[in-house]
Point group: C2
Chain length 218, copies 2
């Protein structure tokens, strides 16, 4: 019975995701689903990307958290329209929650919406939320075995960001292992080496997003 219900929920989620996507398309908005482990640096990456992209795009943010609003306050402090989505214990965001919360953002005045998903390398990958683009983060301190151990998150993404790349000298991290495993499960998606702290690599990622956003708007 458990599996049956799960399938029903996931089918329903897919339907709502398509509705959200159509609604965003009618506003010429590209929504980006940012996923990764707790502490992979999602908020810092979004903050850096806002700095790089804000002159080209009007940006909004949906901050997903199980509890609290630490990150939302950080983003709102940049003067960016931000809404907090608390999942009250749930380990991922579903499309229905996005559909519910989108009217809280000034949709006619936005080109890009970043959604920071719950810190979790498993469940968020299973639920589309109406996004046009998925970004998976893997931070250097997490280790080089994650593609093998959490395959869906790396298979079902449009790009992989190796974050905290400036920490490479301090950890036993075999970059070639990650590149090889990622290339096997997701051969057409690019990989970006980024340090949100120093800003290194942000421009290449921002250009990739800008190109995708331009395509989704055209």
């Amino acid at each position: 019975m458990e599996i049956k219900v799960l399938h029903q929920i996931m089918d329903w989620n897919e339907d709502v995701s398509e509705e959200v996507k159509a609604s965003l398309a009618s506003h010429n908005i590209c929504m980006i689903n940012v996923m990764g482990s707790p502490g992979a640096g999602k908020t810092s990456l979004i903050t850096s990307l806002i700095g790089t992209l804000k002159d080209r795009f009007r940006i909004g943010v949906i901050e997903g958290d199980i509890a609290g609003q630490v990150d939302a306050e950080r983003i709102a402090g940049l003067g960016i329209p931000t809404v907090q989505l608390n999942t009250d214990g749930a380990c991922h965001i579903e499309a229905m929650s996005i559909q519910h919360i989108l009217p809280s953002l000034p949709l006619d005045d936005l080109d890009l919406i970043f959604v920071e998903n719950i810190g979790n390398l498993v469940c968020p990958a299973e639920f589309r939320i109406g996004e046009s683009l998925r970004i998976t983060l893997l931070s250097i301190p997490e280790g080089d075995d994650k593609v093998e151990k959490y395959p869906l998150m790396f298979t079902d993404t449009d790009c992989l960001v190796l974050n905290k790349y400036d920490m490479l000298p301090y950890f036993d991290f075999d970059e070639q292992r990650v590149c090889s495993n990622y290339g096997t499960v997701n051969p057409d998606a690019p990989l970006f080496r980024v340090s949100s702290r120093s800003g290194d690599g942000i421009c290449d990622l921002a250009d990739f997003i800008a190109e995708k956003a331009g395509n989704s708007q055209s």
Copy 2:
């Protein structure tokens, strides 16, 4: 309907967890549920603890992973009875899986069983698996805001391990913030500062486990 089914599953899980606990007690085994984010250092911590505890206790390991058996091979290489539990996509271990897999271990010849849960700071905390002791890991690179953002994992544990503590100089990590938040949600549980790599702090944690295991065996 979703919530109703979830409650049924969780109630059922609690029942099975009690059965597992009773079965382990009849073998004088203390089972330890090790939880934390992907890359928090669970396998390395278990490996270090085995090194410190193996002269005092006969140890077995259950390695939980969504896919693969990288970690199980690492532990089995130490000559420790190890079984791999693949959840095939599920984001946590349930008591039923433990009940199913326990007979694969030589229970009459073990005092301690470490269970490495799926790397996930959310879902594993919701499911008891028959353990006598819970260890939550938070590694320094993950950041100092995790107790606020993932409260259940820190509330419902018997101790917190600040892992990769040797990395403190390289990250903006406000230790006082973590101690204060953890002390608020879980005032009676200890906190250990550990580097699995250097071995610093392992002895204190091992003594804590040994004491708990001794109590559960008496």
